[in-house]
């Protein structure tokens, strides 16, 4: 039984990256930042939700290379991030959830103290082999209400994209137009008395411009959407590689809301609208700044 498992092979591949000189620096930097995490790990290196420090170190290394060299992410006002529990609300776009990965990497590499961003996974994700393990080891959990409340009460940073799939798979013509927001995040924030940090991500919405969404194919393949982009699916797997757009991530002032979390949808909806307007105006400001750098090339620099 000397055959290494798939997990071991992946881990070895990631570790071999460290031997590249400039990558080694990044790896060391990540180790330093992970040492300063406010998370408690048990004697085997796992936190109560299954987060593993070594897996985070490896995945963050790969993400950090994309972060630094492909998307050249620039964060603005990340020092606004409060300590303790926080709910990060951002716009969602780009066909695959790279914006979530970049935001998580930013929080680990640039926030003080470094934070692990906790994602709320879709209900079907735990049934997908390997994906479910990676998801949990990186600190995400199934997006049940109980999990979210527990994480916030343990003073973790939870990320939510209230647009959900509606936002991620929007067409190029709808870029930077926020889709309908779900209300759940506001109820959770009210219940756990958590500040909301609005985040506007500029750049992600051009990384994979979708020209159509084939609903019938999506239903057939049981996927939430089947986007057709400039490169996907006709270029195959290569077509999934996003354009090297430049990411700007704007962090807003923390917002605190008061009220009863079981209020009717109209009352909650008003509060959600405030957050949505804030993100929309932050997006507008970010786009304006980008316009000044050049109408087309500004997207890339």
């Amino acid at each position: 039984m000397g055959v290494p498992s798939i997990e071991t092979i992946a881990a070895r591949l990631a570790d071999s990256l460290r031997h590249v000189p400039s990558v080694g620096h990044v790896a060391d930097e990540i180790e330093d930042r992970l040492d300063r995490l406010p998370t408690d790990f048990n004697e085997y290196g796992y936190d109560p939700w299954g987060l593993n420090r070594d897996v985070v170190a490896r995945t963050t290394l790969i993400a950090a290379l994309w972060y630094r060299h492909w998307f050249r992410v620039e964060t603005h006002d990340i020092e606004r991030m409060p300590h303790g529990r926080v709910l990060i609300i951002a716009n969602h776009a780009g066909q695959i959830a790279i914006d979530a990965v970049m935001l998580g990497t930013a929080m680990l590499l640039e926030a003080e103290p470094p934070r692990i961003v906790r994602g709320m996974g879709e209900y079907w994700l735990p049934t997908v082999p390997f994906v479910n393990v990676i998801m949990v080891r990186m600190g995400s959990v199934v997006g049940t209400r109980k999990n979210c409340v527990d994480l916030l009460q343990a003073d973790e940073a939870v990320i939510a994209f209230p647009e959900g799939v509606r936002g991620m798979n929007k067409l190029f013509s709808q870029r930077y137009q926020l889709q309908e927001f779900g209300l759940g995040f506001m109820r959770l924030a009210l219940e756990t008395n958590t500040p909301i940090v609005p985040v506007a991500i500029v750049g992600s919405e051009e990384q994979a411009p979708a020209i159509a969404n084939v609903h019938s194919l999506a239903r057939l393949l049981r996927m939430p959407a089947f986007p057709v982009t400039l490169t996907w699916p006709h270029l195959g797997l290569l077509g999934m590689i996003p354009f090297p757009v430049k990411y700007h991530v704007y962090f807003g002032e923390p917002m605190r809301f008061e009220g009863y979390y079981n209020d009717g949808d109209d009352v909650i909806g008003e509060k959600v609208e405030v957050v949505k307007q804030r993100i929309q105006s932050m997006l507008a400001a970010g786009l304006e700044a980008r316009e000044r750098r050049g109408r087309f090339l500004g997207i890339f620099r």
Binding site: M1, S5, I6, N42, E43, Y44, Y46, P48, W49, G50, N52, Y123, W124, P126, T127, V128, P129, F130, V131, N132, V133, V136, V141, V142, T144, R145, K146, N147, D150
Partner: protein, 438 residues
């Protein structure tokens, strides 16, 4: 017959309260309330104790009683009694001697000398009953690993009556052992004669070697029978050892399920639905008899040297089959911590459902490696077929329904129990895995 059935038809369903409380029908007992040890109410010659957990008065009276082989204890043995004699005794249950002939005593080394002094009282030669100052505790399934541990950890605080289908060879002297099946009428005789006021129910068939019908009958009918007797014979505290498996392992389980989570296990693992039924049965009992302090404990995976749990069998396989691409978090507790948790539940007289958790959770594969095994990932489609067939042939100890427990998490939140009892586990995760090594 004083037996009042547990559920006696529609009428009693709507009469929640008017059942006679033991306080109304039995003479007042010594010390009660505020969680202190109470003395059994059945005996008019009871000695009441101050609160707390004091030493037995016999021990105080004779602090210099030498050891078990001393002449004092031999003369005490004159009072009578075979272990089995007590069970068959024709007496009406209020005069019991707990001392035994020297011939019955199996010496098991020096560890018991301390309680021999406490157990074997200087026998009064009068025809008066030997007064036991301690509450009587009936433990079902006492011969199992968990039962033995529990008996040992509560021996100073209770007079222990043990029941099991299996013999417990060389059982310690502080246990009055009765070999009988829970489904037998003889169990009722035992309640009548021994008059236990506390019951711990551990007698469940949790393996799959037995006929499934027998398993269901022992677990469900046996529990039902026991609950009836508890209600009829003045039992004041009851602890049932259920399991956290009753919640089931499902993909959308939250990481930390509270006691309010639904009991979903039969959805994917029908072979153990009797455990969920038992849990529900005890839950109904808990609501119906609020004066009986009933706690239903749902512990996580239990490991240790004496316990034969499903998970320890699994971890001790030569090559441990896992499902390729899945590695859920599992919680563990050491068997001795669990015995302590049961003892603490009795002591505090807590009432309700309680998840009992240990020091924490690790992924399945870490648990396998730490307990000395080798995980072998098998694609799920293959595993379902292979395990199903091997199980049918008796070559694999778990039915295919168990697969979900190595795919999805079934982890629970233990804060309610810790808040109610102040319990905290002593054994760390690495201690626990050491005991599971083959």
């Amino acid at each position: 017959m004083a037996s009042k059935p547990f559920v006696s038809g529609a009428d009693s369903l709507f009469h929640f309260w008017p059942l006679p409380r033991p306080d109304d029908v039995l003479p007042p007992r010594g010390n009660d309330g505020n969680g202190a040890w109470t003395t059994p109410a059945s005996d008019t010659t009871q000695v009441s104790l101050p609160s707390g957990n004091p030493p037995a008065p016999e021990q105080v009276a004779h602090p210099d009683t030498p050891d078990g082989t001393g002449s004092g204890s031999v003369s005490a043995a004159a009072a009578v009694g075979d272990v089995r004699g007590a069970e068959l005794g024709p007496d009406d249950g209020d005069a019991h001697t707990e001392t035994r002939g020297e011939g019955d005593i199996e010496t098991r080394g020096g560890e018991d000398t301390a309680d021999v002094a406490a157990e074997i009282a200087p026998a009064p030669r009068r025809p008066v009953a030997v007064v036991s100052s301690r509450e009587r505790l009936l433990i079902t399934g006492i011969a199992g690993g968990q039962g033995q541990l529990l008996a040992r950890s509560v021996r100073d605080r209770f007079e222990i009556i043990g029941v099991d289908r299996e013999r417990w060879d060389n059982h310690p002297r502080y246990v009055r052992m009765h070999v009988l099946d829970l489904r037998r009428r003889k169990l009722e005789d035992l309640f009548r004669t021994e008059r236990p006021t506390a019951v711990v129910h551990l007698a469940f068939v949790r393996h799959f070697e037995a006929n499934p019908r027998l398993r269901h009958e022992v677990n469900v009918a046996g529990t039902r029978q026991l609950l009836d007797y508890c209600a009829s014979y003045g039992v004041r505290r009851l602890v049932v050892l259920s399991s956290s498996y009753v919640y089931g392992a499902l993909p959308d389980n939250p990481c930390y399920m509270t006691e309010d989570a639904p009991l979903n296990v039969s959805r994917t693992y029908p072979e153990v639905r009797d455990l969920a039924e038992v849990d529900a049965l005890c839950g109904a009992f808990l609501w119906r008899y609020p004066h009986i302090k009933t706690s239903i404990l749902r512990p996580v995976n239990t490991l240790g040297n004496t316990v034969h749990s499903a998970v320890s069998r699994y971890l001790k396989l030569a090559y441990v089959p896992t499902i390729l691409g899945f590695d859920p978090m599992l919680q563990f507790i050491h068997e001795e911590d669990l015995a302590e948790a049961v003892a603490v539940s009795l002591e505090k007289g807590i009432h309700g459902f309680f998840n009992v958790t240990g020091p924490g959770a690790v992924p399945l594969k870490v648990a396998i490696r730490e307990s000395g095994g080798r995980p072998v990932g098998i694609p799920e489609s293959v595993a379902r077929v292979v395990i199903g067939n091997l199980f049918r042939l008796g070559l694999f100890p778990f039915p295919p329904g168990a697969i979900d427990f190595v795919k999805y998490p079934c982890t629970v939140e233990g804060s309610r129990f810790r808040a109610a009892t102040g319990f905290s586990p002593v054994f760390t995760l690495s201690d626990i895995f050491k005991t599971a090594r083959r």
